[in-house]
Amino acid sequence: MDLDFNLEEQAFRDEVRQFLATELPADIRDRMRRDDASRIRDDIVRWQKILHAKGWGAPAWPVEFGGTGWSKTRQYIFENECAMADAPAQLAFGIKMVAPVIMRYGSPEQQQRFLPRILAAEDWWCQGYSETGSGSDLASLKMKAERDGDEYVLNGQKVWNTLGQFADWIFCLVRTDPSAKPQKGISFVLIDMKTPGISVRPTRLLDGTYEVNEIRFDNVRVPVSNRVGEENQGWTYAKFLLGHERTNIAGIGFCKRELLRLKQDAAGTIKDGRSLLEDPAFGNKVAQVEIELTALEVTNMRVIFAEAANHAPGPEASMLKIRGTEIMQRISELQVELLGPAALAYRPDHDGSRATAAYLNLRKLSIFGGSNEIQRNIIAHMILGL
């Protein structure tokens, strides 16, 4: 048993750090520090191109598709170092979500057509899963895809589509057999966002930002060749995708970065002649969350180690998701508490606003990607066997 990275892993970490120190553009990093630039298309695209140029565009892909071929451990190190260096997160929808499905279930043509453009940030992908009546209960989705010769005719609506306002392509779960049981009649299709009949309406969120969209499909015609895998087998691919989405779901790097920020700010806030980091009551709260994060870091490494030892990503990811989001939300709460009344101001140029905006926005963590309630169901059923 050894909880530390070995020499080879340490050398890799140093290499990543060095790369980030020299190659992450200062303007992007500064935007990330000031406000969360992970919602800015240009920054994400520019950073992806830089990573791609280095050969690091797809940390989790095998080499044959242009990926790095890195071990799980290296991927974990890489993502955490990027987050800690204030690099924007790579756009998951292409690299982490649709690409693994295309690699595993797509045709050679689909692989050649889509994967290189994802890697090079030439296509911006988004996800069409949830519908108004189908959130946690995804399998109840209703969007229709009716066969008409070589085409599907799509009608319906998708919601909670993240960053789709910038998208070139969308992958959707659609119902190709309305008569089958809910999970049986679903197909997985790739849709060019420029196809006539698609309309995107951004949803204003509580923090004032536009991050998710409602997308309507009115008689949208998509070539059948854009379907991945077999007709009516989409649910299988969706579940496969879910497993991949959950790599690094704990967000250790993000938590560490924001915890450091919290500690720095606490150390700079003076109360009764000492800093809030030294204040017993507030300091204990910071200590508590740092301890929990320390434990989660070890737990995360244990899960990676188990996966590497030939286990597929399992329901353990649900634990990482719940605890990771709880910790991130807790850190965010403490950032607001630290500011106190200064967190009331809500304007872009006000120091307090970053923490407040993050607090509002990060409520999503326990809702999306399978709500934390759904994750608890998964733990109860899949791990505890209840």
């Binding site: 009546g133 946690s136 969120l205 106190g340 101001a345 006000h350 509002l360 809702i367 999306f368």
Partner: protein, 372 residues
């Protein structure tokens, strides 16, 4: 022991609720919120007409004199409607400050205009230096000629952009003072901004603002200023309760109608227990809003302070729990600007931070723990 309200008190609540139901629905509030000022002069005039701006003016001064229980009930309704108008700042805190501290001349000068809505006043008290000690004011008033010269900074003054009259707390030698400053006086600089709960506030700078001798409200305000703040805090607690009550009602309603896995989500036991927990927080918060109203005029500053810190701490925790769970149980819908839920959520977040944070009031309470 009596938890009933008088007919007059009940009428005050009904009047305010009816006004909000008829004239301040969520859609109308959205329009007000999107306007340049972020609040409505028309609504303000209507509040004046209904007599609501006079509830903190004693009957002998021509007001309604509804006192803390009046603020409790009207505050509930205002929180339910998430009013954006400067009611709390002007009609509660500033009005009460003038009633409590002002001379007969000052009262007759300002109270009628406050009741009529022509004068909008705010108490500018909090500063960077009052963060951990509400009485650690650094703004200073120094004698100058026949009057005073005022210098200092005030931060996050709610509704200051709407005000034409600023009541500014300041040290005056060894004493404390509250000074009436016209919002357009020379030397007053205001940086206005929107707050997280969609209201408007400002950071204020006072640079050698020249004031006449009669600008000072009363004499040494060492005791009375804290009493005014406590009075206002009780009213703020009432508002917060109204918001909590509504956000839970919205959550219950959503959970009954939202169907997933073939059943309303309100039928899932884990969510039922969550909502039961929310209700318990709500009822404990209601009790504390009563306690705050009952004790906020206690002449004993220690007893008053303990009760109000207890109320603010517990209600701040309830606000967080109820607010967060309401958003959570609404799922993605709770994150959107479209439902009222996210707006209540932000109002409750602001409540946590205003008039002393939850942490600070818990500490205040701890410091007075006694073995008795």
């Amino acid at each position: 022991m009596d938890f009933s309200f008088t007919d007059e008190q009940q009428m005050l609540l009904d009047t305010t609720r009816r006004f909000i139901a008829e004239r301040y629905g969520f859609e109308h509030r959205n329009q007000v919120r999107a306007s340049a000022d972020g609040w409505s002069r028309e609504v303000w005039a209507q509040l004046a007409e209904l007599g609501l701006l006079a509830i903190n003016i004693p009957e002998e001064e021509g007001g309604i004199g509804a006192g803390p229980v009046g603020n409790l009930l009207v505050g509930n309704a205002i929180g339910e409607g998430m009013l954006l108008e400067p009611f709390w700042s002007s009609a509660v805190v500033a009005t009460h400050a003038i009633v409590a501290l002002g001379s007969a001349e000052q009262k007759s000068k300002w109270l009628p205009a406050l009741a009529g809505g022509e004068t909008i006043a705010v108490l500018a008290h909090e500063e960077a230096s009052t963060r951990f000690d509400a009485m650690n004011v650094e703004t200073r008033a120094t004698p100058s000629g026949d009057g005073w010269e005022l210098s200092g900074r005030k931060s996050a003054v709610y509704h200051a952009p709407a005000a034409n009259l600023l009541l500014v707390s300041a040290r005056a030698g060894d004493e404390w003072g509250v000074f009436a400053v016209p919002a357009d006086a020379t030397g007053v600089r205001s940086s206005p901004y929107a707050t997280v709960d969609e209201q408007r506030a400002a950071d204020l700078v006072f640079e050698k603002v020249a004031l006449a001798a009669d600008a000072r409200l009363g004499g040494d305000a060492r005791q009375s200023l804290q009493a005014v703040l406590d009075y206002g805090l009780a009213a703020l607690c009432a508002e917060a309760f109204g918001a909590m009550d509504r956000i839970l009602a919205a959550t219950l309603s959503y959970s009954r109608s939202r169907v997933q896995f073939g059943a309303p989500i309100g039928s899932f036991q884990a969510l039922q227990h969550r909502m039961a927990e929310m209700l318990m927080h709500l009822e404990q918060a209601r009790s504390m809003s009563y306690l705050a109203a009952s004790r906020c005029t206690d002449p004993d500053p220690a007893a008053r302070g303990a009760a109000l810190s207890a109320a603010k701490a517990l209600m701040g925790q309830a606000a967080r729990y109820i607010g967060q769970q309401a958003v959570q149980l609404h799922g993605g819908m709770g994150m959107t600007d479209e439902l009222d839920v996210s707006h209540y959520f932000k109002r409750l977040l602001a409540f946590e931070l205003r008039c002393g944070t939850t942490d600070q009031h818990l500490e205040n309470y701890r410091r007075q723990l006694r073995v008795a």
